[in-house]
Amino acid sequence: MSMTHTSFYEETHTVFGHHKNKFLQWIFSIDHKRIAIMYAIVMFSFFAIAVVVALLMRLELFSPGQQIMGPDTYNKAFTLHGIIMIFVFIVPGIPATLGNFLLPLQLGARDVSFPRLNLLSFWIYCLGILVLLYSLFGGGGSADTGWTFYAPYSTNSASNVVSALTAAYLLGLASILTGLNFIATIHRLRAPGMGFFKMPLFVWGLYTTAWIQLLATPVVGITLIMVILERVVGIGIFDPAKGGDPVLLENMFWMYSHPAVYLMILPAFGIASEIVPTFCRKPVFGYHAIAVSSGMIAFLGYLVWGHHMFTSGQSDTISLIFSVLSFIVAVPTSVKFFDWIATMYKASIDFKTPMLWTIGTFITFIIGGLTGLILGAVGVDIYFHDTYFVVAHFHYAILGGVVFLMFAGIHYWFPKMCGRMYSEKHASRAFYIIFVGFNVLWFPMFIAGALGMPRRYFDYLPEFTIYHRIATVGSWIFVAGLLYMFYTLYRGWRYGPIAGPNPWNATTLEWQIPSPPQADNFGTIPYVDFMPYEYIEGEPVHHMDLSVKEDVHHG
């Protein structure tokens, strides 16, 4: 493919003026690809911080009693871990990084609908992080309420809750703007001929996610503002002394935050739907079912928030209704899994690293998802509520589901972003180490939780020692694997062989342009009258070179 094109690393469009300085060229760039990479850099820096905090918590739990941190420090540590991992890392996570980079490429567009708004949302995101840093080091000490900010403790705690809430609000605002941008982009900038049911499934994941970002995030935004007002002027809405109801906060918080879990997983499912057909060399089984099930999960996600509050004293009828609705979410999710498995059936699967990550996720996410059903059952949840069982379920679903698929996506699109390939040998070994470490780390927590180990305690009874010991050892394996993986990717970025435009023989539009792409993505916009995953006899049906402006069409 043409080497005459300069990639987006060399030239870019900025929001104003022409800058000589490389750094200014980046932070003022309105190119969705550069914004995606800036997001990724900031996001993974904070991911590393939150991992270190988690490692220290596990170290504290290696033995009963107090070792390296006392109860108050431990409360602050898990709050910090939660706020960073949820609001800074995983909520913006896939949409802001891989989504930003790939959405216009997969649609055949030259950018998102509002590139300047895209840059603004990145700045708001950074501002939110600065406020969060202030909440850590400002007087009063960092917040110790847990990332859920439950009243009445959040309205009374002497720590820096207001700045932590403000940070969460700003990060939420950035996420809303990203969602808004994606909805407009998907509705307006699809290449001619590409109907909704010709879009790649990753785009479907981003589309349904964008609707959750748009409609659910404002609810938590105004809720956080009301907690701030409660603390600053005492409006009384969450204060029982003034007739307010703290459980109302829980309701409003989960009205957003439960859809938010699906907001995290839907684009991740989209990544799986890209990787499975590519490495099976087959059209995906049940394209429409996968697309529509994303919409069903997003819709049902709004109706299940009450399953977080089975022990809050809400009426039994409501609990049963929420329980049934929660079970129903498993149906569209299973549709996706059966479709992926059906795609793999009788395929000659190419077990490259992205596919390894995806299949690994199928195992861990099924454990995470099915234990979710256990927790969704009212009677059992009364027993398991606020135990390590919940912690293990959540990490199996979010880390073993969303983050693993994000890693799958990073390995899949790495050659497209960098133009170079990582070492397959080292990348797959890193996967196995992380996979083993992950299960050693979290599986014992299911057992500890079932035996009654409560979450958020810095200390525990001696009979839980063995589970905590195994988990802590697992955390070391896990972190060693992470370091190995990132080092392998770094080596690939600096010294890897040139990857070429389409190293995986994939079919979607982003693989029909050079790696890394040029500033305006496409020379020629194609007319899309074909499905996204068309293979015949294991070979892609369409080969196109869309990098140059041409009047003649290629096959």
């Binding site: 509002f114 748009l214 409609l215 404002p218 609810v219 105004i222 002027v233 007739g243 307010g244 007319y527």
Partner: protein, 219 residues
């Protein structure tokens, strides 16, 4: 409605039929769609507030009705009227611009700004009166009254305050609009920013039309 110099990119399918490639720089529909999506988020924000209001109204009906008598219906009524007129002037400014009457359009936007400022002035007076009577969150007067009354005033200051912030933002946006018109970036053929601002202003006045009866007229 992009500027006239813009030539859309055309591509052809296999049958040779032409198709226009939508360019984000010249996408009137996209700008409208994005703004409607933004209004949806605003709707969810105020919707949540109305949800909280109805939850507490249901629990403390008698206290809410009683507290509503403290509201100044004359000032609130005048404000409602002012905001409705300002929505009219805002809408007319768009009509005038589309018909090419730029000067009239600017006068109408200035009128809207002045009406919005008057609205805020009256709102300030009302708040002062209520705070003067000792009705504000955490006040000694409220502490002697029932829980419903405390919640009523907590919600009143929160919701009218949130609405007031939207008015202030609206004034800022209108001043920005005027500078865009002066520098020729908004014209009779390229008016989507003004159109979206008019939508925003309509939304803000509709919120007030709902807030007004909930606090002033339920006694």
């Amino acid at each position: 409605m992009a500027d006239t110099a813009y030539e859309p990119e055309i591509i052809f399918d296999k049958q040779g039929n032409p198709h226009e490639v939508v360019d984000w720089k010249h996408d009137y529909e996209g700008s409208k769609l994005g703004f409607w999506a933004f209004l949806l988020t605003e709707m969810m924000i105020f919707g949540t507030m109305f949800f909280v209001y109805s939850f507490y109204l249901y629990q403390n009906n008698a206290d809410f009705v009683h507290a509503s008598e403290e509201m100044n219906r004359l000032l609130g009524g005048i404000n409602t009227f002012i905001l409705l007129v300002s929505a009219l002037t805002m809408g007319l400014s768009l009509v005038k611009l589309r018909n090419g009457h730029v000067q009239t359009c600017k006068k109408l936007i200035w009128t809207t700004i002045i009406l919005a400022v008057i609205f805020l002035g009256i709102k300030y007076t009302e708040w002062s009166i209520e705070i003067g009577h000792g009705f504000y969150p955490g006040s000694p007067t409220l502490d002697t009254l029932g829980n419903g009354t405390k919640l009523f005033f907590g919600l009143y200051f929160t919701m009218t305050g949130l609405h007031g912030i939207h008015i202030i933002v609206g004034i800022g946006v209108m001043l920005w609009l005027l500078s865009l018109i002066n520098s020729g970036k908004i014209t009779s053929t390229n008016f989507v920013v003004l159109e979206n601002t008019a939508l925003y202003w309509d939304f803000v006045h509709i919120v007030w039309v709902l807030v007004f009866p909930l606090f002033y007229l339920i006694y």
